[in-house]
């Protein structure tokens, strides 16, 4: 037996430079909230205070929307498209320059492992700006008519699971299409958005084109309900998405919604098992399972179920849970006490309803919010853990006998965001992909994202797509749809 323990591999915090406080970013400047209120943001890995950020209320939202409208009317809608594109290119390039700084801030504020922020979140976010910069002056080729028009001012609300990436998914296409924005970051993860505001300043972006108002759900509601925005773009829970749809129902506002999911990850008997196990682990434990498109239901063909589960458990025992700033870490902190409570509550129903819980032996840190990687076997479709989005590192395992049964179980949900297919037979993969009611289907892979690839869900997973040519549609007027 050998003693081959890994040394710690800490990433330095020094590059982060987080201010003790931040104002709201309105009209190209950081300003104090009108009522002078602020709130704290902490590091969920150790509950330490990171900063106090401004609390935006209705009057601040109003100021931001006014600023966005003025910028739209006087500057942005008049600017030649290729110049608009060049601002976006600048933003992309500066994000690449400051990539390490962004990654560290993101990990400290969100709790996700530094390897993820550094290798996934931040590069993808910069790539989104680079990709959409290229569309700005090519909209007439995008299949939306000869002279597609922007909408005006867009109100955008993003979640805490991929703070900077979700900001990029919202702001990049909006600006490329010629709109101006007011964006409200999630309550627990405001910092990378505020850093992004600094990038806008460095890029010389005209004042008011991007406005960032930090706050909570009330701030968000004020933005959704503001009479002078033309569109709402929201990523978050299905529950809030429906509330937004109701709020805007009598208005002329359009909306795109990226909501929840309960994706099925189907492993067929002819799958490459070792690869499938990696895909399963990535599907549910990447980003602590805080992923709308997480493969949270593993559905295995019966005759390979035992083999897959045995390998899966062995693989899960190798998952390193701990300090997100350590480059060895695989699974970081749960983003908030609130989210941890939710995970615990729904998981307990798994035990109560008769499923079999298993976690590897992990030593969780004493401070901060943590949950071990967990699977439940013996799950049936009616269990809450098979129907409800847990949004944590908890996997529900079911089985199937025939491919038709696999599809039936996979589609038996009001969600329809994503799905995974593991099989070495091409025709079978394409057949399954055709049957699955999901907006994003990963075959023999999982959790792959690219600015050129449209992302979005069927059914209650939302409205519209983000990314790719299709994603532009949400930010341009339609030739055909009428807004009464």
């Amino acid at each position: 037996m050998s003693d081959f323990e890994y040394a710690n591999a800490p990433e330095s915090k020094a590059i982060a430079n987080i201010s003790p406080s931040y104002g709201l970013f309105i009209g190209g400047k950081f300003v104090d909230p009108k009522k002078g209120k602020s709130f704290s943001t902490i590091n969920p890995a150790n509950e330490e205070l990171l900063s106090k950020v401004g609390y935006g209320d209705k009057s601040d939202i109003d100021a931001a929307v006014k600023s966005a409208r003025a910028a739209y009317t006087k500057i942005w809608s008049k600017m030649p498209a290729k110049e608009r594109g060049k601002y976006l290119y600048r933003i992309a390039r500066i994000m690449q320059e400051r990539a390490r700084e962004f990654a560290v801030v993101e990990t400290l504020d969100n709790g996700k492992p530094i390897r993820e922020s550094r290798d996934t979140d931040i590069p993808l976010a910069a790539a989104h700006f680079f990709y959409h910069a290229g569309w700005a002056d090519k909209l007439e080729y995008a299949g939306f008519g000869n002279k597609p028009k922007s909408l005006g001012v867009v109100g955008q609300i993003i979640p805490w699971n991929f703070p900077l990436l979700m900001l990029a998914w919202k702001i990049a296409p909006a600006l490329a299409a010629g709109n101006t924005v007011v964006l409200k970051p999630a309550e627990t993860t405001p910092l990378s958005a505020l850093l992004f505001a600094q990038v806008c300043q460095q890029a010389g972006l005209p004042d008011g084109v991007v406005n960032i108002v930090t706050g909570d759900g009330i701030t968000g509601a004020a933005l959704v309900n503001h009479p002078d925005i033309n569109k709402v773009a929201f990523t978050g829970s299905t529950e809030v998405g429906k509330a937004i749809a109701r709020s805007i129902s009598a208005t002329k506002k359009t909306a795109t919604l990226e909501l929840g999911g309960k994706a099925a990850n189907l492993v067929f008997e002819d799958a490459a098992i070792d690869e499938a196990v990696e895909g399963i682990v990535n599907g549910i434990f990447f980003n602590q399972g805080h992923v709308c498109c997480a493969g949270s239901r593993l559905i295995i063909q019966e005759n390979v179920a035992d083999e897959v589960l045995e390998k899966l458990k062995k693989r899960m025992s190798l998952i390193r849970v701990g300090d997100p700033m350590d480059k060895n870490t695989d699974l970081g902190a749960i983003n908030s006490k609130e989210q941890l409570n939710k995970i615990e509550e729904i998981s307990k129903t798994g035990d109560a309803e008769g499923a079999n819980r298993w976690s590897p032996d992990v030593k969780l840190p004493t401070k901060g919010f943590w949950y071990p990687p967990t699977i439940f076997t013996g799950v049936t479709q009616s269990h809450r853990i098979a129907r409800e989005e847990i949004f944590g590192p908890v996997l529900s395992v079911l089985t199937f006998r025939t491919p038709a049964e696999a599809i039936e179980k996979a589609n038996n949900t009001m969600y329809g965001l994503s799905a995974g297919i593991w099989s070495d037979k091409g025709a079978k993969v394409l057949w399954a992909a055709k049957q699955l009611k999901a907006g994003v289907i990963w075959s023999n892979t999982f959790n792959k994202f690219d600015p050129a690839s449209p992302f979005g869900g069927y059914k209650e997973s939302g409205w519209g797509r983000e990314g790719g040519r299709h994603g532009l549609a949400g930010y341009l007027t339609s030739d055909s749809k009428v807004n009464k």
């Binding site: 037996m1 050998s2 081959f4 890994y6 070792d274 190798l318």
Partner: protein
Amino acid sequence: MRKASYLAMLAGADFIKTSTGKVAPAATAPVVLVMLEAVRDYFTLTGEKIGVKPAGGIRTTKDAIKQLVLVKETAGEQWLTPDLFRIGASALLNDLLMQRMKLRTGHYASANYVTVD
């Protein structure tokens, strides 16, 4: 790779090795991963432990450490012994010596200070 590994093990090999080490590409991470998976699965099936020897392209201490990590994460700690894992390399030794010099002295070493024989 996996098939070849199984054939060799079923034929009675005690060790499976990538190649002589003088061809390229040779012991890349994906290749070694598959061989370690084969050896691991063979152990589950038969209880027999077969050794793995990657050779070719492992030039630096960092490369070697990556190989050891692969072994630990795939086949397991039991394989971290010369009876079950060896690295076929020539240039590696001098790099290892230079790394040890750096550990000892605190500054970067030079190839002039290690002999080629």
